[in-house]
């Protein structure tokens, strides 16, 4: 759905035009949700209500929203430490999400995981992951399970450019190509590997690297949600067809620090440029497509009130029962 193809669609085919508009509205809502949630988390963190490490994906929402838009419920995703957007876009409930991050018994992981371990098997979210690169082979294994069980599903490995030098990425690319597994590797390239520019850490690029393994892929503008949806849709379909793994490198920008509270003294790329914010761009596109200002404001208000309600509910939710603190280390139930 580049601008040129969009124009073609508008002039020649009115039906797809409406579909495109609906898809963009849905993706826009997802981005508003992720942005709203993370801005709220930043405040809760600053107020001391959310502890520990919080890694925000503000500025990168188009990738989670655009990729998730082409996935089915049975598809599985493995995420990263910067994984709130992936979780919410894949369908983790807002209530369960906030209850998890506030450490409540009713959280999606019963308060055991927190921000870096949000997982929800009911929507195919295998988990955020606190170890750089560690989610990648898990997604590949999930893809193997899709292949063996013939579910028709695919797995998506989200990872940042900070994991490009991790050996397990290279091992996973090889294994997935060797066994033609239905996996989509989505690299969120924000230019930063924690506190260093990725250019100081990795000499190759992921698309070229993929070619060495015979894996097709492309680099796209990760801040254009329509472009992400289009490319993700094409590559996901290929993986689903049995063509083997694909790579999508989404160029984006990390607006916040590596984690909340990071003073970012190492950074001087403060000038983001006019097209940096995926939500601003998506909003402009929706206006062009005839979505009214009022409608956009209504979407924003809906998201805000849903978030406020979810945070309030999380505050009131019970803490985990201490008597259950040692539960689920092992199980006796058959898997």
């Amino acid at each position: 759905m580049t601008k040129s193809s969009g124009a073609t669609l508008r002039s020649e085919a009115p039906e797809p035009h409406r579909e495109e508009r609906d898809d963009l509205i849905a993706a826009h809502k997802t981005m508003l949700l992720v942005r709203g949630v993370e801005e709220r988390l930043a405040r809760l963190f600053a107020d001391g209500e959310v502890p520990g490490f919080i890694h925000l994906s503000i500025g990168q929402e188009a990738i989670a929203a655009g990729v998730a838009a082409v996935l089915r419920r049975e598809d599985t995703i493995a995420s990263t430490h910067r994984g709130h957007g992936h979780a919410l876009a894949k369908g983790v409930s807002l209530e369960g999400f906030f209850q998890e991050i506030l450490g409540r018994a009713t959280g999606v992981c019963r308060g055991r995981g927190g921000s870096m371990h949000v997982a929800d098997m009911s929507v195919g979210m295998l988990g955020a992951n606190g170890i750089v690169g560690a989610g990648i082979p898990l997604a590949v294994g999930s893809a193997l399970a899709h292949q063996i069980r013939k579910t028709g599903g695919i797995a998506v490995a989200f990872f940042g450019d900070g994991s490009l030098a991790e050996g397990v990425l290279h091992e996973s690319l090889n294994l997935s190509a060797l066994w033609k597994l239905p996996v989509l590797f989505v690299c969120e390239n924000n230019g930063w590997s924690e506190f260093s520019p990725t250019s100081k850490q990795f000499v190759a690029n992921i698309v070229e690297l993929g070619r060495a393994f015979g894996i097709d892929g492309e680099r796209i503008d990760g801040n254009d949600v329509a472009a992400v949806m289009t490319a993700a849709g094409r590559h996901a379909a290929a993986a689903r067809r049995g063509d083997g793994p694909r790579i999508l490198e989404c160029m984006t920008r990390r607006v916040r620090g590596h984690f909340e509270g990071d003073p970012q003294r190492y950074r001087n790329d403060t000038d983001a440029g006019p097209d940096a914010d995926p939500i601003v761009r998506s909003q402009r596109r929706l206006l062009e497509l005839g979505v009214g200002e009022q409608e956009l404001a209504r979407m924003q208000n809906e998201v805000e009130s849903a978030i406020t309600a979810a945070v309030e509910a999380a505050r009131k939710a019970p803490l985990p029962d201490i008597a259950d603190a040692a539960g689920d280390v092992y199980t006796r139930k058959a898997a």
Binding site: C109, P137, L138, E171, A326, V329, Y330
Partner: protein, 470 residues
Amino acid sequence: MPIEILMPALSPTMTEGKIARWVKKVGDAVRAGDVLAEIETDKATMEVEAVDEGTLAKIVVPEGTENVAVNTPIAVLAGEGEDPKAVAADGGAGRSQNAAAAPQRQVPPEQVVELKGPERAKRDRPSAPAAATAPPAEQEWTGPTKMQTVRDALRDAMAEEMRRDETVFLMGEEVGEYQGAYKVSQGLLQEFGPRRVVDTPITEHGFAGLAVGAAFAGLRPIVEFMTFNFAMQAIDQIVNSAAKTRYMSGGQMGCPIVFRGPNSIASRVAAQHSQEFSSWYAHVPGLKVVAPYFAADAKGLLKAAIRDPNPVIFLEHELVYGQSHPVPDTDDWIVPIGKARVVRPGEHVTIVAFSRMVDLALQAAEKLAAEGLNAEVIDLRSIRPLDVETIVASVKKTNRIVSVEEGWPFAGIGAEIAATMMEQCFDYLDAPVRRVCGKDVPLPYAANLERLAVPQVPDIVAAAKDVAYR
């Protein structure tokens, strides 16, 4: 609710003691871990620590009182928001709480999760992990047996489980076409085909992570490491993904997986190919660890491991693969994980060992018998959960224990056993626990040095005589 503090037991045999001194006075604020009092028995003096928070409302048994029976209320603690004076007047009607003192637990320490913080007062003890509950009783086999190598017993275990459950599959380096680097998977590719006997590249971190991801989806991978030395490449996925995910996800996802392969010291392959990993993995909550010696146990435990819904580290031994032992002649022989076995009864000294060291322990026991010392040899079989009950029962009889392992001494399995014996049968020990371990060096290559670095039968004999003061 006010809490009655009861006279704690300083040892399993203590029935009464003396309140030597009250460290806290009525009205004092008490936090968990504060020393409340000192108590004396004929054996020792010990500090009594508070388990709960609150204010000391009443001292029921004044200092200097002798012959105070275990579990007698000795003081009353007022909880947060309670008036200590009212509580004292009330006589302390409330829940009873043993103060923390000597180890009084009858469960192994690995099964108890200590919690800190104010919520602690809300319960007596957290529920133990599921694995803490007693494993199912081991079946007695009275039917026919056949002599079989450990190698073939392991192969049969995998084949039987793969026939029984089509979600079970084997993957690893050279497990298919080559039939296994140590020929453990002989014939499996021919029977089950390449989709279920999967040759992987040399990429331990990658295929371990992949297998864990497949297990999250409910498949049951058996991952063969050519040797466990190479599993260090994969340990992030074993520990951070396989072991922790069930807990981290609040019980949503399990990881029914077996990581197996030869562990420990083979012969003249030097330091990087000769390492014993049981204590590494046994350290991790969420993993089960087994290390059998006999072929029947290898088969029964591997079948149990494959059926187990938790990740299991299955440690084999290259030097044992070719040994033959009787194996029950059935395709339904299961040995429960978590049960040790007394492989030679005796009354003078307990020797605990696992994997190949069971062989050496039995040889040592023969030599000791010739000198009039009857050793009881326990094959641990499972390292985690550890069958503390069987060890304690033996030590209560022999009053002496030697632990034997090929691994290094520091923080090894012997260290765990020594600590557990102090906690659980201190009063029964007539000698300090002795450890026979691999020497604290990377394994040397030269034949004479290698022999010195690995436990030998005379080392076990000497240690047993040592604890028997012979």
